[in-house]
Every structure is written in C-alpha cells, then in structure tokens.
C-alpha cells in the first residue's frame, strides 16, 4: 500500500521527465501512449488504495517518506495522509487525468509541441497528487504552486498568441496574490503550532488558548489565519474577485481546460479547506465570509455565462459558478457535501469541456457559438454526451448533479442563520441561472440551423476522442448515487458532520419537490423560448434589462480593475525608478555628494592665484592665526 502510494507520484514524474526531455527518437504517438499507460497504472494503484481504504474501516495512512528540511526543531517532510477524503480525490484526479491523456493523444496530434504538452499534463497530475496526498501544509503549498505553474505553462502553450501569453501571466499573477495570503496563513498556523504537520496541528488544536492570542484588524488569530488560507483558495478556485484569470485561461488547449480549469486544479481550494476543516470549523467571521463569497460567485458568475458567446468561456463561467456552490457549502461547514459536488462536478464539467473540444475540433477551431447550431445530427455521440453533461449540471433529477446540488441547497436551508438563508436564495436563483445558460448553450450549439457555412464537412471525431466522452458521461450519470458515501465520509480529525439525510428515495422525492425543481422547470422554459424558439419579447428590450445586460456583459468590471491596478503598478514602478531611485538616491545623494565635493574643489582651485605675494600672505596669515589661537589659549 505505502509503496503503491509512493509509486503514484513517481510514475507521473517519470512520465513527465521522459516525455519532456526525450529526444526526437520517441515519436509523438508512442510518447502519448507511454504517458497514458503510466497514468493508467497510477490510476490502478489509486483505485487499489481507494478500495483498501474503504475495506478497512477507519484506516488512515499517514507517513513521511522523505525529510525535506530538518533544522533543529523544524521538520518539514514529504509524505502522505490518505483517508477516505483524499483517497477519493486521488482517484478522481487520476481518472480525469487519464481520460484527458487519452483524449489528448488525438486532440493534440497535429501539434508540433505534442510531447511538451504531455510532459506538462503529467507534471500537473504529479503536482496535484502531491497536493492531495500531502500531510503537511508545506507539501500542500508545493503542490499548490506546482499546479499553478503548470497551469501557467499550459495557458501559454500557444506562446505566439498574444492573448495566450497575456492570459497566462494574468493567471499566474492572480494565483500569486492568493499564494501570498496562503503562505501568510501557513506562517500564522506555524507560529501557533510550531509545526506544519496536520497531525500535530490538529492534535494541539484543543490545547491552544485562543482567547489570549493576538488579534489583528479586529479578527481573532484563527479567523485571520483561516481567512488568509481561504484567500489563497479564492485565487485558486476562482472566487470573486480573484476569478478573472479563469475565463482567460481558456486560451490553453481544451483538454487542459477540462483537466485543470474544471475538474481538478480549481477544486484544490475546496480540497484544502476540507482538509483543514478542523481549523476552519472553529472560525466565525471566516465562515461567513466564505459563505458570502461562495454564494455571490455562484449567482453572479452564472449570470455572465448567459451572455457569453465563446463556448469555452461559457463553460468556464459555469465552472466558476459551480465552484461558488462548493465554496458556499464550505461556509456552513458542510465539507463533505461540498466535496460531493466537487466529485460530481469533476465528471460532468470535464465531460462538457471535452465535448466542447470535440466540437471545436470538428469545426476547425471555431469557438464562437453564434457560428454553430444544429450540430445534433452531425455529431450524435458528442451531442448525447453533452446533453448528459448539461442535464447533470442543471441538476436534472437522478443525474449526479441533482444529488450534489440539492444536497448543498438542503444543508444550506437546514443551517439556521440569516446569512445562510440569504445564501440559500442566491444559490437557488443561481440554479435557475445555471439552467438557463446551460440549456442556452445546448440549444444554440446543437439545435436550430447551422450558422457557420457548410455543415456537410463536419463529422464526428475518432474513437480516441469519443471513448473518453462516453466514459465520463457514464460517471456523470451515475456518480450521484454515491451520495451516502459522501454524507458519511469522515475527514481526518474532523470526523463526521451531522447531515440530515434519510436515504436515497426520500432524498430523491424531497429533491424533486423542492424549490430547485421550480427553478429547473422555469429555467427550461425560459431557455427553450429564448434560445430554441428564439422568440423576442418586448420586455427584454426595455431600458432596464438592456442596462442590466450590458452591466453583466462588462463582467462587473473586475478585469478592468486588475488591468488598472497592474498598469498602476507599472506606472508607480517607473515613477519610483526614475524619480526616487535614480533621481533622489542616485542623483541627489550618491552622485550628488561627489558633485558637491568636486564643485568645492573647483572653487578651492580657483582661489589659489599663483601670485607669490598671495602665497607669502597666506603663509604669514596662517602663522598669525596659529599664534593668535595659542596666545588666546595661554592668556
């Protein structure tokens, strides 16, 4: 078992290195197959581990296998902490990764940098696994930064495209903003517990006298540290206002969007909060903060998706919105519920992205949905898969999304507080919005008439593309039935959260009768009328709705905010450089002082005239002065 755990990251690292550094002898296809095989082996290992974890109740694997740093009392290791929570996550990551690997063999086959791509995704999976397995905060951070790095590299995969290299810089920088707070949070935790290990931290959590700790800005110590950690998660999991990088990250190849920007990396923040639940559990302000951020992200980002015309960007905004659901669930300490949504979302969102990839390929890299339409007949398999994904995301009963989203809504309603009630309503409206934008996408892309020229040249992709879709579709349909597993899932040192769940059937019936169904039905008809039948309503052209529409289309000006602040930073930078550094320090002091001295010496030089009688006078004058002083002192 332990050995298998060690092998998983090693396999991926090997894959990344072999593919990345190999010479031209290794062909494209064989490189793709090689790395897919390695991921597959890792996947097998992870399923064995998952199986084992579930076979032995309460088994937790916790070990350090490498001592990274040890300076006297400080010990930072690389190790693993595998409980049910991380075992499932491990499995999901590897599964999606494997699927994407296979998918990419075909999708990327035209690319010159095929092997670089595979090296990256293997490296990504490695980092993600490091993050998931970690048993301490530093390893978590290493993985955290690692996935950020690979995301950066992959968004900039097409490095000649100006938009791509802008997007990847933006993504990295915004992630770095999060990382800054994340590391501060880590530092705060370390200062409190003198350790980075989860075990040590969690064991000592009860021994800490929280009352007597310093408070900052009116927040308690723990609140602030968790807030900082959460800000890190906000950047990674694309929460308002640090979400701006995610839509832009769609510049990367589509499989990447599926793997990184939908299924795995962006959920790292959710995972992290879940992992540190014993800490977050104790916070007060931070939890409310999380809740507010999550629910507003869920609602407002969904709204943007309605007006997007780029197929990938629609799905990206939907991802942000769904992440909002997960975060909102974290805010009421329903960690496993959130994790459940993460789990199902990983499948259906990866599915949607891969379908989108398939469509884009078939349409020769056209991503604009206004140039699509009526693809149903030409791409039947893709259509069915996309339909399954859509049903799942809108929470159509009995699909996986139904279970997870309804569970979130229910626990939200069960949580008796004003904030959670407000959030509940926001999430409910969010559900409606989800239905609208998802169905809009479905209708515009697959129904109606094709708007992009001749339809005849379009055909379904090869089996290498389709098989992954089908696999993910199956998971999207059925993964929801594991609801019991997640409700009963204990998190390391946090234990079980008491969730109101009475069994599958009551849950389903209750779910169907809940307000979410109303949202579903309303949304369906609204989408059908607006986007399938394309009816026009006067009401939609009224001043207010147009204003609202244009407001949403500005994406709430968050992008502008970041562009503004980055431009401002540059401006300040050049101002400081020229005025303060070169002007004041260098010009006035460092070079100014010598200049002054030089001037003084020029003045002195001009004073000595060269006349003999001046010399003699100075001579005598100096003697007089000396004697004068001495006489004055003697007398």
């Amino acid at each position: 078992m332990e050995l298998l755990l060690l092998f998983i990251p090693l396999l991926l690292l090997t894959s990344s290195l072999i593919v990345g550094l190999s010479s031209n002898n290794l062909g494209k296809i064989s490189a793709g197959i090689l790395s897919s095989t390695l991921v597959f082996v890792a996947l097998i290992f992870s399923s064995i581990i998952l199986f084992n974890i579930y076979k032995h109740e309460d088994q937790i694997l916790y070990e350090n296998f490498y001592n990274w740093i040890s300076i006297s009392s400080l010990e930072i290791g690389i190790g693993y902490l595998i409980d049910k929570f991380s075992a499932v996550m491990l499995f999901v990551v590897l599964l999606i990764s494997f699927v994407v690997h296979v998918y990419s063999i075909s999708y990327m086959s035209e690319e010159k940098d095929f092997k670089r791509f595979f090296s990256y995704i293997a490296l990504f999976t490695f980092s993600m696994i490091l993050l998931v397995m970690s048993n301490n905060l530093i390893q978590l951070f290493i993985g955290w930064e690692g996935v950020g790095l690979v995301s950066y590299l992959l968004i900039g995969f097409f490095y000649k495209k100006e938009s791509a290299i802008k997007a990847n810089l933006k993504a990295f920088l915004i992630n770095r903003i999060g990382d800054m707070f994340f590391i501060l949070g880590i530092a705060m935790i370390y200062a409190l517990f003198d350790s980075f290990d989860y075990r040590t931290i969690f064991i000592n959590i009860n021994k800490v006298d929280f009352e007597n700790l310093d408070s900052y800005f009116g927040l308690s110590y723990l609140d602030l540290s968790c807030l900082f950690l959460f800000i890190g998660a906000m950047a990674k999991s694309a929460q308002i206002p640090l979400h701006v990088w995610l839509p832009d990250s769609m510049e990367g190849p589509t499989p990447i969007s599926a793997l990184i920007h939908a299924a795995t990396m962006v959920t790292a923040g959710i995972f992290m909060v879940g992992r540190l639940s014993p800490l977050f559990e104790l916070t007060d302000f931070t939890n409310s903060f999380i809740l507010i951020i999550g629910s507003s992200t869920a609602l407002f980002m969904g709204l943007i998706a309605i007006y997007e015309n780029d197929i990938k960007r629609v799905i990206a905004y939907s991802t942000i919105s769904q992440l909002g659901y997960m975060v909102a669930a974290l805010g009421i300490s329903a960690y496993t519920v959130s994790f459940f949504h993460l789990f199902t979302h990983a499948f259906f969102k990866a599915l949607l992205f891969l379908c989108a990839g398939s469509i884009i390929m078939s349409l020769h890299h056209n991503q604009d949905i206004t140039k699509m339409g009526g693809l149903r007949s030409k791409l039947p398999v893709t259509y069915i898969c996309f339909l399954i994904g859509t049903l799942s995301i809108i929470g159509f009963p009995l699909t996986s999304g139904f279970f997870s989203k309804d569970l979130i809504l229910e626990v939200m309603l069960d949580n008796n507080s004003t904030i959670s009630f407000v959030s509940y309503n926001m999430l409910l409206i969010g559900a409606l919005v989800t239905v609208i934008y998802s169905l809009r996408l479905l209708f515009i892309v697959f129904h109606g008439d094709f708007r992009g020229g001749k339809l005849s040249s379009i055909k379904e992709q090869s089996m290498i593309i389709l098989l992954p879709l089908i696999l993910l579709a199956i998971f999207s349909l059925f993964s929801g039935y594991l609801i019991k597993t997640f409700v009963d899932m204990p998190i390391y040192f946090y234990g079980l959260k008491d969730i109101h769940y009475e069994g599958m059937l009551p849950f389903i019936s209750h779910g169907i009768l809940s307000p979410a169904s109303i949202a579903l039905i309303t949304g369906f008809f609204a989408a059908k009328i607006l986007y399938k039948d394309e009816r026009k309503f006067k009401m939609l052209n009224s001043a207010i709705t147009i204003k609202l529409k244009s407001f949403i289309q500005t994406k709430y000006k968050f992008d502008e905010l970041f562009i503004y602040s980055s431009n401002k930073t540059k401006k300040i930078s050049s101002l400081l450089a020229s005025k303060f550094d070169i002007g004041l320090i260098d010009g006035f002091i460092v070079n100014g002082l010598p200049k002054k001295i030089n001037k003084l010496s020029q003045i002195l030089k001009s004073l000595s005239s060269g006349y003999l009688y001046h010399y003699a006078f100075l001579f005598v004058f100096s003697i007089v002065v000396i004697f004068g002083i001495i006489l004055a002192r003697i007398l």
Binding site: I71, Y159, F172, A191, S573, A577, D581, V590
Partner: protein, 499 residues
C-alpha cells in the same frame, strides 16, 4: 589529508592568475590552463567539503601563523559550515564562469582570465579568514580585480559604473576598518574567537554596529545603498555580472553573519528595527522598481537587491524572535533561511546573467523592448531562461523557495507586518520575472537572425548543470542545512549569550 588546504585554495588561483597575466601567446593553452586551474580549485574545495566534519562546532582546517605580531594580525584561516558552503559556491561559480568564458571573443584574454582567477582566490580568502584584518584585506583587495573586469571589458558606460562600484564599496569598507581598529584598541586582538568573546558597552556596540553594518550593507547591497549595483551589472561583461551577483554580494552577507551579529549583538538589537525596515523596503520597493526596467541586466540586478533583502531580513529579525520566543531554534531557522537564500540566489542569479549574456552575444542588445519571441529561434536557451525566471520568483522545487519560505515563516513569528510585506515578493517577483519572460521569450520573433543560434553544447552543459543544482538544492535542502546547522547554532548561542 592535505594540510594547508585553505592556503592552497587561496594562493593557487592567485598565483596562477599572476602568471597568466603576463602570459599572452597561445590562446588554446590559455584556455586549457585557465579551466584546469579552476577545476583544480573546485576539486580541492570538494575535498574540503568531504573532509569537513559537520557536527564539530569549532572552526576546522585551521591554519594559524603569526603574520604581523606587532599589530596583532595573524594569518588565521579556518572554516565552519557556513564558509565551507560559500567556498563551494564560489568555486563552482568560478569554474562555470571559466567554462563560459571559452566561448567569448575578447581581447586581452589572458588578463581577463587572470582577473577572474585572482578574484577567485581572494573570495576564498574572504570566506576563510578568521582574523578581522586578514578578512578586511581580502575584502578590499577583491575590489581590484572586479574593478578591472568591469572597467576594461565592460560596456559603453563602464567607467562610471566601475568607479562608482569601487568608491562606494571602498567607502563602506573604510568604516569597517575603523570598527576593527576600534575593537582592537579595546581587546588587542583581531582573532575571531576573541571578537566573539569580547564585550562592549551599548553605545560602543551601537556605533560599531552602524559602521560595520553600513560597510556590509553597501556590499550586499541594502536599500538605500544599492544604486551602484544596477550600474555595475549593466556595464559588466557577462562573466563579471555572474561573479558580482553570485559571489560578491554574498561577501556582504557573510560579513554580517560572521563579523556583525555575533560581535555586537546588543548594538544590532537596539538598532535592528531600522535594518528590518530597510530590508522590507528592499524587498517590496526595489522589487517594484524591477518591474519596469527595460534593460534585462538591470532588471535582474534589482531583483537581486530585492532577494538580498530577504537575507538581511532573516538576519535582523532574530532579535525580535529571541525577545518573543527566547528559543534558539527560531533564530537558527531564520538564519538558515538567510544563508540558504544566499546560496540559492548565487546560482539563480548566475544562471540568469549567463542567459542574458548569451542573448546579448547574439542579438547585441539587452533591451527588453528590442526583443521578443526568442522561443522561436533559440528554444533551448529560452526554456532554460524560463526555468531560471521561475526559480527567481521562488517556485517550490527550486532552491529559492526554501530560503524565502523559512524567512517568511520566521518573520511572522517576529511581527505580522514583516511577514506581510516580505510575502508580497511572491507577487512582485512573479510580476517582474514572468513579465520579462512574456516580453522576451514568448510572442512572435522581432529580430530574425536567420541562423542557428541556439545554445551550443558547452552552453547547454553549463545551463543544465546550473538548473540541476537549483533543482537539487530545491528538493534536497537538508544537504546544506546539515552543514550549516552546527555552525549556526554556535553563532546563535554566541549571540544569545552576549544578549
């Protein structure tokens, strides 16, 4: 066991350098001779490393002769873990530089090599001398070869830069001399062990601290004494920049840990807040300045200053840490972070300068605005450049992460604000490093040289070695930590004892 190994390390390169200075016939022999000597020194230093006993607190490989009895000056050499590591850093960098220099097309090649060899020996002298005046002599003499390297083989504005470099650092070092002489006038010794045992009053310590700290702060350089560095870097030839960034700045940091903190801790303690503020300014403000530099070397120079801000921050928070936790381990962690940062930055900045130098050799420009899309024309270089840029912004897995992490977590223990400002480097360093990458490496090609100008095998070897070292240091920091641990504990205990 080679006796007098430290003397060999110092004098072999210096004497060979002097010989080389007057030998100017066959270029091939010159090249081979130069590489061989550097390799010999490297091998010798590795021998030193192998024979170094990690768990011994006292100085090792001691050579102690009476040099100038009448002035209490001894020829006193010896190393502890810190200096051993810095010597290794030094010899590796000089060896790499000697290989890199094979590619250069320069005149007065023999003198160029000679200057580097002499600088090599003198730096080892700085790191291994345990007598304050001996240290000072090496410290000061080191200026001469660097002055010549910048002045003779530098860029268009080299004279201004070299003079500024020389006079600025000389200004600092005379203050150092004054302090050493003052100490001597009180305890009649320059021996490091006596210095550690000496006790001064608060006022004395404060003044001594100010004088010595300014000297080393100029060398490191700390804000606001930093303005000589960008000029020197921009004008210096590539190998000169490499040595300047990788070695010379470290001499200042080494001075702090060896001659300032343990000798006048009370003075340092009473004034530490100012130096912490300066370090924080260096980290944030200088990093900010780096963002919009249009000269790649200047950008890296500013980033060096910003990174060295971490080093000094790690040095000066120890007193507040001690006040808060009175745990010697916290001091050691912070100091380890600083020293790790020193070593890591040595390699990272060296690599970056080598990359920039090679770009300059090909495109004859260092201006960012002139370049774009190098990835299309010189992919191998560009990937390495990207890697080093990422290392420069402290990516985990590379060596720079370790130091920054340790310092950030220590600084939080001292004060929230310190940690907050210092961790802003995560954003700022990413901004300047990756924006640089975006503009230079990525995008469409701007100047098409239309021939194969990618790295040749020699350069590939150099870059690969450096990248490998950076990664190894990133994933196996314990190798270095073990070396430093005992020595740092010793120094920390000395400091605490005197407090």
């Amino acid at each position: 066991m080679i006796s007098n190994i430290l003397s060999l390390l110092i004098w072999v390169p210096i004497l060979s350098g002097i010989i080389l200075y007057f030998y100017n016939r066959n270029e091939k022999i010159l090249n081979i001779y130069n590489v061989l000597i550097n390799f010999f020194v490297l091998a010798l230093s590795i021998y030193l490393l192998i024979n170094f006993k990690q768990d011994v607190e006292a100085f090792q490989f001691i050579e102690k002769y009476n040099w100038i009895n009448t002035l209490n000056i001894q020829y006193f050499l010896g190393v502890d873990g810190i200096s051993t590591l810095l010597i290794i850093l030094n010899t590796i960098i000089f060896f790499i530089v000697s290989i890199y220099n094979l590619n250069l097309k320069i005149d007065k090649r023999n003198q160029y090599y000679a200057s580097f060899l002499i600088a090599n020996g003198l730096t080892i002298g700085v790191f291994s001398s345990l007598d304050a005046i001996l240290f000072y002599i090496f410290f000061e003499a080191l200026l001469i070869p660097m002055f010549l390297i910048i002045g003779i083989w530098g860029g268009a504005n080299r004279i201004y830069a070299s003079i500024k470099f020389f006079i600025y650092t000389f200004f600092g070092s005379v203050l150092l001399l004054i302090s050493f002489l003052y100490i001597n006038s009180k305890i009649s010794s320059f021996d490091i062990n006596y210095l550690y045992d000496a006790n001064f009053t608060l006022v004395e310590q404060e003044w001594l601290f100010i004088a010595m700290a300014i000297a080393f702060a100029i060398k490191i350089p700390m804000f606001p004494f930093h303005t000589w560095l960008p000029d020197a870097h921009v004008q210096a030839p590539t190998s000169g920049s490499v040595v300047l960034a990788a070695i010379l700045l470290k001499v200042g940091a080494y001075g702090f840990i060896r001659y300032v903190l343990p000798v006048v801790p009370i003075g340092a303690m009473s004034l530490d807040i100012y130096f912490i503020i300066l370090s924080l300014i260096a980290i944030a403000y200088v990093g900010l300045i780096a963002i919009t530099q249009n000269d790649m070397k200047k950008l890296i120079a500013y980033s060096s200053i910003s990174h060295m801000g971490f080093v000094t921050l790690g040095f000066f928070i120890i007193f507040q840490l001690f006040e808060k936790t009175s745990n010697v381990d916290d001091l050691i962690i912070s100091l380890s972070g600083s020293l790790y940062q020193i070593i890591s930055h040595g390699f990272v900045s060296a690599s970056l300068f080598i990359c920039v130098g090679s770009i300059y050799d090909r495109y004859k420009t260092k201006k960012i605005s002139d370049l774009s899309g190098l990835l299309n024309q010189m992919p191998v270089y560009s990937w390495f450049f990207l890697f080093f840029a990422l290392a420069n912004c402290g990516l985990p897995g590379t060596s720079s992460f370790v130091g920054e992490l340790l310092i950030i977590i220590s600084s939080f223990k001292a004060n929230f604000i310190y940690a907050f400002i210092s961790s802003s480097t995560l954003i700022i360093s990413a901004f300047y490093s990756l924006w640089l990458v975006k503009r230079v490496i990525y995008g469409e090609i701007k100047i098409d040289l239309d021939k194969n100008i990618d790295a040749n095998n020699l350069e590939k070897l150099i870059l690969f070695t450096l990248a490998l070292i950076i990664i190894i240091l990133g994933i196996y920091p314990d190798f270095i930590m073990n070396f430093m641990n005992t020595s740092l504990r010793h120094i920390s205990e000395t400091i605490i004892f005197k407090l």
